[in-house]
């Protein structure tokens, strides 16, 4: 005999530990099945794009730190590439290598956070999260050596970075790369064969690749469905064309595939950093102040540059009217665009899979709302 049930609407968030920030979901359940989902966001809106219109190009770096606050180096890099394209600045080689090393370290840190919190959402309370965060702390220590801050880095400047790495950075980086591989091995041993992780993540929230492409979703979410789209390979910026690395692909397009792609990408980032350390050349880290002054005035025009961030294609669009501040800045935030398929992911699924699917998108509310 079937039990008659009535749909129930539940508000999740905005103050909920599993929503990765302040995010609200209005979910309608029929029994345990999800019937309807309505995402509501904007609680963390700080108006970064508007604030950028009254700041100079150097001062905006501090705003980009605070957009996606778990991968601030990548935000710095995307913004700097846009400024360099807009103003026609030729970056110095050593500065480019240094910012590539910094951004790949940041990608590992971001993927570790994503993995740790995905497992936290699965119900593994604390343990895998602490293993991931323990390694991330060491990466943040490296950032403190480089630029004096752990999260709000502001390391990049037009044409390079503000200061060369200190002497003690290089041995610490070598040690850290070994530690990262050990931690990833440990995480994989711990989770990748785990039957509970399998049964909870395999086959849940499957999205076909056509749907992902139509919704212009990028990053590990797209690569987990077998679409070979990585801007580091497709449209190499900085010196990625001088680097050999594997593209990580999985075909299942479920929650497990997204987790797996992130772990393997973190491994590839270690390979990329090793090649950067081999190829780095001595020299200046930024152009002299005669070439690129503190206060740059790019010519009239616009520029769009996109990079492969840890979450997908992160683009900065800048319009200049010849003044010291941009006329308009727009950010193509991967977290926001990856969120658009949330309904398709969740409807028809079960209540227990809700936060797992949500966590597998790896979104950051600072970037969604900006």
């Amino acid at each position: 005999m079937a039990i008659k049930t009535q749909p129930v609407t539940v508000n999740l968030g905005p103050q909920h530990p599993s929503t990765h920030g302040v995010f609200r979901l209005r979910v309608m359940f029929d029994g345990e099945e999800i019937v309807d989902v309505e995402p509501i966001f904007g609680y963390l809106h700080r108006g970064s794009e508007k604030l950028a219109e009254e700041r100079t190009y150097t001062q905006i770096i501090t705003l980009t730190d605070r957009m996606d606050y778990v991968s601030s180096m990548l935000n710095n890099q995307a913004y700097m590439l846009a400024v360099e394209k807009l103003a026609g600045i030729e970056p110095t080689p050593r500065g480019v290598w240094l910012r590539m090393i910094a951004s790949e370290l940041q990608r590992i840190a971001s993927h570790l956070v994503a993995t740790g919190f995905l497992l936290q959402d699965l119900g593994a309370l604390g343990t895998p999260l602490i293993y991931a965060m323990r390694e991330r702390e060491n990466i943040l220590d490296l950032f403190e050596m480089l630029c004096g801050a752990r999260i709000t880095t502001s390391y990049l400047r037009p044409g390079g970075v503000f200061m060369d790495a200190p002497k003690e950075f290089w041995p610490a980086l070598d040690r850290e790369l070994v530690d990262i591989v050990n931690t990833l091995d440990e995480l994989e041993k711990y989770l990748s064969g785990n039957e509970i992780v399998f049964s909870r993540t395999k086959g849940t929230a499957v999205l076909p690749p056509e749907m992902l492409i139509n919704a212009s979703i990028t990053g590990p979410m797209l690569r987990a469905s077998g679409v070979d789209w990585d801007l580091r390979h497709r449209n190499p910026y900085d010196y990625y064309d001088r680097i050999q690395f594997k593209r990580i692909l999985h075909t299942a397009s479920d929650n497990y595939a997204r987790y797996w792609v992130r772990i393997q990408e973190a491994r590839e980032s270690v390979v990329i950093i090793r090649q950067c350390v081999e190829q780095i050349e001595p020299g200046e880290v930024r152009p002299s102040f005669d070439e690129v002054p503190h206060l740059i005035r790019p010519p009239k025009g616009d520029a769009y540059v996109a990079i492969e961030s840890s979450k997908g294609e992160l683009g900065f669009y800048l319009v200049s009217d010849g003044g010291i501040a941009p006329y308009r800045m727009h950010v193509r935030a991967p977290s926001l665009i990856n969120l658009t398929l949330l309904r398709e992911m969740l409807i028809g699924g079960l209540f227990g899979d809700l936060f797992v699917s949500f966590g597998s998108i790896d979104l950051n509310m600072g970037e969604v709302d900006r």
């Binding site: 501090t62 220590d141 801050a149 502001s154 711990y190 503190h294």
Partner: protein, 226 residues
């Protein structure tokens, strides 16, 4: 086989169970008798006999010692280190601050015995209650007068105390961070152990001798004027 993956996973947790912790107790660490004796610089037996009150406290687990956190010398912290003698009141720091929290009022009329006339600072306020420690003001300073600090423990109960005035800055301990100051890194300056007393030592150039200074600023100037 079902359960094999779980067993391998539990082996990982078992290995981490016996690992030494990565977290630290802050600001104070609990120590036992041996730790307390080491902190006092005595051997444990002498500590037990000489200071029985402290020993009982340590055995009961109540003795604590302060912990120092490991920091990079480039750490961008409060409070700011400012050398008034190096400042020419050019207000570059105020211009480059993204939040506009530095207030400068200057008047002409400062007379230096060696360097002649310059601007005199009347007001130099940094409102670190709104500061985000991005370091752009330090980067903009052309004369190395303003440096980031290395501390981070200056919290207060009153908002007004977060405004660093000229007097506060002058009275503060000079432990500058090596953020955007390559000369400190070249000299292997350790901000956690040393302080900079003389404002000449904070510059990016070597300090000229008194003879050079006299020659450059007094002798040549007088001869030129004649």
């Amino acid at each position: 086989m079902i359960g094999l993956g779980l067993t391998r996973g539990f082996l990982v947790t078992l290995r981490n169970f016996v690992r030494s912790p990565v977290t630290i107790q802050y600001p104070d660490r609990h120590v036992g008798l041996f730790g307390a004796a080491k902190e006092a610089g005595m051997n444990p037996f002498r500590f037990l006999v000489g200071r029985p009150g402290d020993s009982i406290k340590a055995i009961a687990g109540l003795a604590t010692v302060p912990v120092k956190l490991e920091q990079s010398p480039r750490f961008r912290g409060n409070e700011f280190v400012f050398f008034e003698d190096r400042c020419t009141a050019c207000a570059s720091c105020a211009k480059y601050c993204p939040l506009g929290i530095i207030e400068i009022v200057s008047v002409p009329g400062k007379i230096d015995a060696l360097e002649g006339e310059s601007y005199k600072l009347e007001v130099f306020d940094i409102d670190i209650g709104r500061c985000m420690f991005c370091g752009l003001c330090v980067e903009a300073c052309p004369y190395d007068a303003l440096h980031m600090g290395t501390g981070f423990e200056q919290s207060t109960y009153v908002r007004d105390e977060l405004i660093l005035t000229l007097d506060v800055l002058n009275a503060a301990e000079k432990k500058p961070s090596s953020f955007y100051r390559p000369q400190f890194e070249e000299n292997a300056f350790d901000p956690f152990a040393e302080t900079i007393e003389n404002h000449y030592d904070a510059g990016r150039h070597e300090r000229p001798s008194d003879e050079d200074m006299k020659k450059r600023w007094v002798d040549e100037r007088w001869t030129n004027d004649d």
